[in-house]
Amino acid sequence: MSDPSRHPAEALAESPAPADESTRRVLVTGLSTYWGGRLAQALESFEQIEAIIGVDASAPTRELERTEFVKVTNQHSLLERIVRAAEIDTVIDTRLVVNSLMATPRSAHENNVIGTLNILAACTGPDSPVRRFVFKSSGHYYGCEQDDPAFFTERMSRPHPPHTGLERDIVEAEQTVGDFAERNPRVTVTVLRCANVLGPDVETAFTRMFGLPLVPMMLGFDPRLQFVHEDDVVHALEHAAFHVAPGVYNLAADGVLALSEIIGLLGKRALPALPPWGTGLMTGSLRRLGFRIPEEVINQLRFGRGVDNRLFKATGFRYSYTTRETVLKLGEHQRLAPVMRGAEQTYTYEREVEEFLRWSPHVRREHPGERGGVAADREPLGI
């Protein structure tokens, strides 16, 4: 090579992925999960999206304007009929369970492994209209071990087989998606491995832990942790749907912080309550007291995890927050929360009302997307 400062791969990676401007008919799976709801709200503000259809087993938890909700459990024949009837070209799969406290092991397995199989089955077939499949995966794919690299890149896999059921399921789900991508070269498959999410709105094991007055740490360990802001995750899912970016990408904000640094930014105190040996016994007794730390988080409190986030940035995506800013935002929210308590309205899905608003000839619809979520207040992806 004549110029040592330039790697041949750089030229390719520097130009952002071209935007795909075709009109879309989108299916959002897991509409009633946090991510499904947020994403659908964001997609509603894009005019070139003709149809947004959301499926889930339970009613939506967020107010949506034009997204149509279809109540479907994991039945691939029904899903397939919906996909074909609505001529869905883009499927965004947001349903993955990434917190073992949110679901029983059995239902998490059902959702993560069987559910993924069913959704992929609904998109398969020579005459399937699906051209694009976006899968929200998790950084738990990499696990958390002593001999991990400091920054996982997308090509790495975990050094040891998974310990926890949740991690095993996520690895299996990703393998299923990988097989699907191989067998269906006409479908652009994008997998986003999402780091731990923080934000004012989302509830994760880490937001819960950082909400405590004393944040538990493991004695003698100060792990490096990386987060991503909830808004960035929603933007990233949109970006993956609108830009040509096949492949696997890590999704994590810039900056890996030590846990002690994070606790300092939040203005909290650390409580090194977890012993380095016999951690399982201690968490067991904590669980009996009503404070549960999921197993996949315990490992992170010991070894931490960092990922290389450059590949997704190379497709033209820009994060709005660094990890540090994400933590600071969470801190602001935590200080404001006691003042704001009770002010926010809760939303309940009323089928009849939603159908009236969507289909009645008497409803005036002049400004589509004015109730749109996060997408309304920023540039619409340069499209």
Partner: protein
């Protein structure tokens, strides 16, 4: 939206037959350097967990004392350490809790015209040991994973110190002093070649006498969960602090001519196992030779 700019729904979005198509399959082999996270000046730690504050404190106190007054370090060939590009320093290694890494880092910080931080590769063991796992990243320790070394050398263009003897070097007894052990499988050469970084062989004289190891107690090693359990003049007699009980041996550090791996074929040549092995052997011989020369000139262990 103009119709001709749309991608028709029935056409494959990614054209598999030609790479020049408007929408190429985008799988870059490696992400570019300029997308590395920017440095946030408000932070006191960097992404590797290195802490300016902890490091600065150690540097001003303990390491300063050892460097100036206890070991009275003398440095030769500091200009052989590159001022900006990534470089892998390869050194001999000895002693129970070897002070050589800290002294090399301090030498670069104090004597080099353009001081740079030095990252030290350490065993994965330290990441799992309570207490040490907090301290070691803060003073510049990084687990010896090939991916870590590559990121530091290639992407961040940093200085990295590696002891290819690894654990075999620290387990070495006093009677085997200055006899270099096997240099692993040449992984360090491969890492440097992949990263197109320079290799700087480094010789340290004095560390072997600063903390002579008279024996290794296997059963205590297993009981404590440490990677080795040495018997030294002060350890375990003075408890964990005995690990810092160094004898005041005179230190000499010599940086040898850097080897440009790019001239040897760079990243492509890293696949050539024979070349990698040869180079590793050559570096080992070079360090051994220089050690012999330095030892021959040394009149006294304590006064140099």
């Amino acid at each position: 939206m103009a119709d001709e700019r749309r991608t028709p729904l029935n056409a494959p979005v990614v054209a598999p037959e030609s790479e020049e198509a408007a929408l190429p399959a985008r799988r870059p082999a490696e992400a570019p350097r300029d997308l590395l996270p920017a440095i946030e000046p408000e932070r006191r730690l960097n992404d590797w967990g290195r802490s300016e504050r902890v490091e600065g404190f150690m540097d001003r106190t303990l390491i300063e004392f050892f460097y100036r007054y206890w070991f009275r370090v003398e440095v030769e060939g500091i200009d052989n350490v590159p001022a900006e590009s990534g470089a892998l320093l390869v050194s001999n290694h000895a002693g129970a809790l070897p002070p050589d890494a800290a002294m090399i880092a301090k030498a670069i910080r104090d004597e080099h015209p353009r001081p740079r931080p030095l990252y030290l590769t350490v065993e994965h063991f330290f990441k799992g040991f309570p207490g040490l796992s907090m301290l070691i990243p803060k003073i510049g320790g990084v687990a010896a994973h090939p991916a870590n070394v590559h990121r530091l050398l290639y992407d961040e263009r940093q200085l990295v110190l590696v002891f290819p003897e690894g654990r075999k070097g620290t387990e070495k007894l006093y009677r085997d002093r200055y006899r270099l052990r096997r240099f692993g499988r040449g992984g360090f050469v491969e890492a440097a070649m992949r990263a197109e970084a320079q290799l700087v062989p480094t010789c340290v004289v004095g560390a072997e006498e600063a903390m002579p190891v008279f024996g290794q107690v296997d059963i205590l090693r297993r009981l404590t969960g440490l990677i080795y359990f040495p018997i030294t003049p002060t350890f375990p007699w003075l408890g964990p602090l005995g690990m810092l009980g160094y004898l005041p041996a005179k230190f000499r550090i010599r940086f040898l001519e850097p080897i440009d791996t790019l001239a040897l074929g760079g990243a492509e040549a890293a696949e050539d196992k024979a070349l990698v092995q040869t180079l590793a052997q050559e570096i080992r011989a070079q360090i051994q030779e220089n050690l012999h020369e330095m030892l021959a000139k040394r009149r006294s262990v304590w006064r140099g």
